[in-house]
């Protein structure tokens, strides 16, 4: 555990000095500032208003940015480090492979989640200053959802990194993974599949297995408990899961995917050449 903490600290130190982190922090800070400036807390759309409106918009934007950012930076950094000889040196120090791998994962998670979390905290502070009601349950649940999504794509990124031998291949695989999950969002491919006669239950099952969709639907569910926005497929979701059941699913399923992917990545890494 001591080694794991050391390695997590080292990875945090590395990441905080990297250019990608600067861009990443600016993007998320910029999104939140943009939402403040555009006065989303004042708007009233589809019956919900106040800070929840700002948070929902933030989550929708985050869903578009976070996964691809997470995938690309993770695979670039891990495979890039291997190519540049960082592993040759670091792994020649007396450190356990498990401590190194999971320490790196933990450090990277903290670094990536920090700006996203910071933006949420900024939104709450902004809301308090503006004197609007703070939807604490939404704030906490959205924060959990973001952590779950970040962890999920971090795990997938680590798996891709361990399977790839070059940065180019890893980046290509990361992009294809993101595109694949994006295509299976309800509005794109699933709509076309239903048009072609796919049973609604199958389409919903595919959507439920997509961590992006799970995140998206759960974020809707908090301000639209009947999922009116989702149309008829809402019945399948609410009948099978219920309100709380789906929230639990949306929170835990991406974490399990991330954990499973990272675990598989570790198993592959441990059996192969390290540098």
């Amino acid at each position: 555990m001591k080694q794991l903490i050391q390695l997590a600290k080292a990875d945090i130190g590395e990441s905080l000095r990297a250019r990608w982190f600067l861009v990443y922090a600016i993007v998320f800070g910029g999104v939140m500032v943009g939402l403040f400036v555009s006065g989303l807390t004042e708007s009233r759309i589809m019956g919900f208003t106040g800070l929840s409106r700002l948070l929902v918009t933030y989550l929708q934007i985050t869903m578009a940015i976070l996964p691809i950012f997470m995938l690309i930076t993770t695979v670039r950094s891990v495979v890039g480090d291997r190519e540049a000889g960082v592993f040759e040196y670091i792994l020649a120090l007396p450190v356990g492979i498990g401590a190194w791998y999971w320490g790196k994962l933990a450090g990277r998670f903290l670094v990536v989640f920090l700006p996203v979390f910071g933006a949420m905290v900024a939104a709450v502070i902004y809301g308090l200053i503006q004197g609007v009601a703070i939807p604490w349950f939404q704030v906490l649940f959205y924060t959990g959802l973001l952590a779950s999504l970040a962890w999920c794509f971090l795990g997938i990124g680590m798996l891709i990194s361990t399977l790839s031998r070059s940065t180019d291949v890893a980046q290509g695989a990361a992009f294809m993974t993101w595109l694949f999950l994006l295509l299976f969002l309800d509005l794109i491919l699933l709509g076309a599949m239903i048009q072609e006669g796919l049973p609604a239950e199958s389409a919903v099952a595919i959507a439920l297995l997509n961590p992006l969709q799970a995140f998206r639907t759960a974020s809707m569910l908090l301000f639209d408990p009947q999922l009116v926005l989702l149309g008829p497929s809402a019945y399948v979701i609410l009948d099978n899961f219920g309100y709380r059941g789906y929230l639990a699913w949306a929170m835990s399923y991406p974490i399990l995917i991330g954990l499973g992917s990272a675990g598989l990545g570790f198993w592959v890494f441990k059996r192969g050449d390290y540098s």
Binding site: Q3, Q6, K9, A10, G13, E14, R17, A18, A84, G85, V86, F87, E88, Y89, I90, L91, A92, L93, P94, V95, G96, I97, R271, G272, D273, Y274, S275
Partner: protein, 289 residues
Amino acid sequence: MIRFENLKKSFRRTEVLKGLDLSIAPGDRIALVGSNGAGKTTMIRCLLGEYTCEGTVTVKGLDPRAHRTEVLGRIGFVPQLPPPLKLGVGQLIDFAAELCGSDPGRMVAIAGKLGLDLDEIRRRPFVKLSGGEKQKLLIGIALGRDTDLLVMDEPAANLDPVARQVFFGLLAERREQVSMIISSHRLDEVASLVNRVVELDRGRIVLDDHVDDRLDMASVLDCTVTLASPSAAFANAIEPWQFKADVAECRWRGRVAGPDRLRFLGMLSRYAALLQGLEMMEAEHETSA
């Protein structure tokens, strides 16, 4: 202490190591030489447990992959190409010292002896240091901890002559307690540091010989070089050796580390036509400690 038995390593269809057998005893200081692609780096990475391989590698009877922390806890490693770490210099030292169970002050002290001013660069990212500064720091980390084996890949390549002299002295202090594997493309770069030469060629050992190691690694030579006429090119070439010039007499005086004598003569050979006189005398024994 270290045994390689029928060590084979392939990358896809290319067999890089073709059944190496080698034993390294305590006190062996080995020059691992060979051209590019001979298999030196691959062999070192197998020893460090970074590569899977056929055959066996053991360090004191332990498999370096299965017993990483025990094995690597006693091996100091200096890579040929410094890793592009963005960590601050101070963070890197603390990180390495913590993992190795060593005192960061020892690492700082060694790097200081090599001429690195840690106070000045402590907050700078490692990757922003010059080639020589990186090398000094990595040597400081490797030598500033308790080890039984030093594995060094072209360790002195980026060092200036003064730092090389200190480095040789530091190795001399450890020669009785620590085995060494020093990898290099050229034997003359490392010949004076070792007592055994292992040459690799296309994945096989083609030479395994003991060499005369009477040379004192900590010795220093007083040198005087006299030229027939002034030469700006020579003045530039000898500047890193920190010789003092007597311009009127076209004479330079200074000191050269004993193990660096071949390298120094190699530099002088480029100006052989200008050379009027050369004197090299062993000076009083010095240590870097």
